[in-house]
């Protein structure tokens, strides 16, 4: 639980509290939103034209003084913040990629899972929290990937229940991916 009351603290502490609170709820907060909140609540002092810079400075100070506050940004996108006390970097990356590039989101996750555990990734997971893509969006991504040179390592396998799993050939051989997909989808229930 985020334990401090924001009204009792300085603007810096209040923003840190806000970031933590959002992280606990599974959300990032953008630099722009932080600045807007600071301005709306008159938490910055000085000439109006200097307020945005003051806000930037305050955010830098917050990061210096709170080791758990982490900045993350997708290429060409606005910076977002999260607290590592309440959110993992892996989860934050999903949220940031979700905002910018669904193809990369899917491909990165599939590659990471294929390399790390190793295991294929069930397609249905992209329709669930925190991805929240629609079925059409997911299948649209798969179609685009099939035609994109940089995604040729992302392949599909299907369990005997008919469910689709994605894997990266950079890390998993097709037969191995097929076996692991069948194990997760069917084998675990048959071998309780």
């Amino acid at each position: 639980m985020v334990e401090t009351k924001p009204e009792d603290h300085s603007p810096g502490q209040m923003v840190a509290h806000l970031i933590r609170s959002r992280s606990e709820s599974g959300e990032l907060i953008s630099r722009g939103e932080i600045l807007r909140i600071l301005l709306d609540h008159h938490l910055l002092d000085g000439p109006e034209e200097e307020l945005p810079d003051q806000g930037e400075t305050l955010i830098e100070e917050i990061m210096e003084n709170n080791a758990d506050i982490i900045k993350l940004s997708a290429v060409g996108e606005e910076a977002h913040f999260f607290s590592s006390r309440f959110m993992s970097e892996a989860y934050a990356r999903i949220l940031i990629q979700k905002q910018s590039d669904s193809l990369l989101l899917i491909a990165d996750l599939v590659r990471r899972n294929s390399a790390l555990y190793p295991r294929p990734t069930p397609l249905e997971i992209f329709e669930q929290v925190p991805f929240d893509l629609t079925k059409e969006e997911v299948h649209g991504c798969l179609s685009q990937m099939a035609n994109g040179e940089e995604y040729q390592d992302i392949q599909q396998t299907r369990s005997s229940l008919g469910n689709i799993f994605l894997f990266s050939t950079l890390h998993l051989e097709p037969e191995y991916a097929a076996m692991l997909a069948e194990w997760v989808d069917v084998g675990l229930a048959d071998n309780p």
Partner: protein, 713 residues
Amino acid sequence: MKMAKYGGWAGKILRVDLTSGRSGTEDTVEKYKEVLGGTGIGYQVLWDEVPAGTKPLDPANKIIFATGPLAGTGAPCNGRTAVTTLWPTCWPKPLVATGHMGGQFAGELKYAGYDGIIIEGRADRPVWLSIINDQVEIKDARSLWGQGIRRTTLEISQQVGPETVVAAIGPAGENLVPMSVVMNSVSHSAGGVGSVLGSKNLKAIAVRGTGSVRIAGNKDEWEKLVKFHLSLLGANNQHVVPNSPQPWAEYYNPATRWVASKGRRWAAANPAIDTGSCDPHELNRLAYRTNNAAFFLGELAWRYTVRGNGCTSCPIRCHTMLRVPSVAAKYGIKEVGQNTCSGLQFGKAFFKNFPDGPRGQTQIEACMVGMNLADDLGIWCNYGQMQRDFQKLYYDGTIKQKLEENEFKSYSWDKYEKGDPSFLFELLPRIAQKQGELATVLGLGTGYVLEKWSLSEEEWKKDRRLMYWKMGHPKHHANEDAGQCGVIINTQYNRDAQNHSHCNFVRNGLPIDVQKGLAREIWGSRDAVDAAGSYTPMNPYKAKMAKWALLRKELHDSLALCNWMGPWVASPLKERGYRGDDTLESMLYSLATGDKKSAEELDLVAERIFVLHRALTIRDMGTKELRTQHDSIPEWVFRDSNDRPVYTKGTIHLDKDDLNLALDMYYEEMDWDKSTGAPSGETYQRLGLAKIADHLGRKGLLPQSRGEGKDVK
């Protein structure tokens, strides 16, 4: 009043002779401290009191319900009772084995003042045993005989009081059907032992205790230790990674039973409950992590989930309670049912197909019908082997061939083939009542089915889909879990191995690199574990892991901790590098009892218990040649459906020579003779079992010399 020297133990074992109607007590610590409790007491009693050659249903056989020093304390996951006896489905010759039930029986028995009950003899009429603290009475059960487990439980509870815990058999046990259970607290059963109780005319044991379990150590330290233990818990089977991305989680793995997530709701609760993201530090949300109905039956099960149910002092609640309104009107059964794993899937597992697919409504209804019938009639599934056998025997035409035409036609096979759950009303009551050839044969257990119908065990041993291992029983977490380690474990028992130490580790959901890091700390090398389906040749560290897994199982079964949850060597805590604590059992034991033992010292006790099981097996088989005559591996382990070479990624089959080496390394790790697979006299001596060595020596059942490995049978 003089305080007992040790805490933990209640201090007394209750002995009930049903032949004479007499009961008495013995001092637990004085007689059984060196084997702790649970299976340890069970094996010891069988060794001391039940001679070789006794049959399971003879009055001379005994059945031992034993808990352990941690049952009824505040230690997490302590609700286990081991039920040890000569095993009716062990084929071709009954040998020692144990069933394990959770629920509330173990704690209540401790509160009544007992660590265990030894049941012997045979009553001359149906009876039930009433235990209310030190008041022990054998009561007339003629009005209960023929009743299901639910009504029996209800009627006895009405007589004794609502807090009473009743362990009862159903008609299957009464009718001496070997595939039968004893069950307490609605759904918590020990499989395989119902007919032994039936043969003794013992319908039920009702326990009510108003005492407590004394903790010998400092109470603050105890509280701190319990909190520490809770902090290391994952979800069911100690899966420490959630199965979908959670804000707090560095990892997620769809293979785990940690299924809670924001938006996943126990929708049949009133009001519905959102399971939430379940940060591992929020110990008050531990019970939301697991929903085994959703894990086994799919997303639809969330709609019907009321809550989790479970055992004394266990926050995991692995028995998911479902409310499925449609089954009341369709099948005339209760709309509420609960169970876990194989028990949950009891009805579903008979069918090959369902009209709406494998994850639809009908499979859930089949589960509800199956639970309703099996958990009342008291039928055992033998880890799903009854259902796999049934499918095989029907679809290969054996059933039609073996039955008289009239009997065959008495079943609605069209319903069966269509996946209509109402078919179970035709089959399961007949199994419990031994009505007809098919039902009677199915109730015998696989080995005796094969014998009765002159079928080849070799055929069962070749077919991986049947999961059959040996001696009438299936594999239970074999080469699919931890490769050679799983295979070794499955060679060791006289029923399915029921060992979860190894699979709880390899299925915990962590990335393979993290698992390997933990493996290095626990078993001395990263090479002790392989990634699922990416196996490497045998090495000594895998043998160490196998020994560890076996000893921890016996330790848990004797302390009364749950081996479906432990050991706790991995945790969900990133700040601990996902480490658990391999000394947890010894810390709990030492503080609870006051008998300070290190993890190594307690492992030695576990080894004593396990070797006692080995000695009983040798004595009752009448041979020391266990390597060739007992520790066998079915042919399907060596086969791959696509003829891929061993150690190819994506296959879990293993090499015969490599498994010979695995047994060599394992026997060496156990300090057993490699040629026979039998413990040596020195091993028995080292474990304080010199008298057993003397006995076996006199019978010619000690290995003469250490030899080289023989071929795997």
